[in-house]
């Protein structure tokens, strides 16, 4: 599955041998600035998720061994909450866990790799390893592709503003 927006294609692929969701996307900004948009809670809240929702950060300790929690907000009301741990933060890689509170027994392990490209551009590769194929398929059919793609368009704009 892939979608095209005004700037870059967001490629979303389901693993065949592993219950993964792999997202690949390029950004017109260097690694340190793209990385900061993932680690700074003020920036993160500005771009995450679909256009129709806002993000409220409730807990954010972005270091190896830290943790996070946020909710998706519509019309001022939290409609979904998520939590996890930051397993490891490196300058070119983030490894974290992820649970949707509405499906509390599920958990995914997400690795986001930041690769430097020519001309101060960056490719991110996010690999979400879900604990079952059923859970992976449920996540894929939840509309996450819309949220991911629309969020990255917001991130394009954010990176353009803060260049």
């Amino acid at each position: 599955m892939s979608t095209t927006d005004t700037k870059h294609e967001t490629e979303i692929t389901a693993g065949t041998t592993l219950p993964t969701i792999v997202v690949v996307r390029e950004f017109d900004a260097p690694v340190d600035r793209v990385h900061r948009a993932w680690t700074d809670p003020v920036l993160f809240a500005q771009w995450l998720g679909p256009k129709s929702l806002e993000t409220r950060i409730e807990q954010w300790d972005c270091r190896t061994g830290g943790s996070w929690r946020y909710s998706s907000i519509r019309d001022g009301e939290a409609i979904a909450s998520f939590f996890g741990s930051f397993h490891e933060i490196r300058s070119d890689r983030i490894v974290q866990t992820f649970t949707y509170v509405g499906f509390p027994d599920g958990v995914a392990l997400e690795t986001i790799r930041f690769d430097a490209l020519a001309d101060d551009r960056t490719r991110i590769t996010s690999t979400m390893l879900v604990d079952s194929f059923e859970g992976r398929d449920g996540l894929l059919s939840s509309g996450m592709d819309v949220g991911v793609t629309e969020g990255y368009v917001k991130l394009d704009a954010l990176l353009g503003r803060t260049a």
Copy 2:
């Protein structure tokens, strides 16, 4: 693969469709005491791993969103270190991440379930989801079965002493 010790069998199974290692083991103590042996760092260090090694806890914040780090010690020297996050601690379930520092790009997600059995006994089911089949097979062939099995014999003794 399974091994028999003086008290209980430790069943270690490699997943076929997922890169998992599933360990099932029963203990002659109620859930709260077995759970405490996993969450109290003083107790945990007394039973973890093979007979030939000791465990030195270097970081331990056993709560949802906390983290841990320990080393295996032989003759006073650290021969291997491990770190991870406690994604979630419940009274009947622990979900945590796990990295062996000698293979720093690898990470596993471990879920330990504590099921109450008749006569105040407990069955634990530990499911380790590794991020690749290669990594899973490497972990399995590292001698982990000896460490797991010998560690649980130490845990039997600990639970007997503190009954």
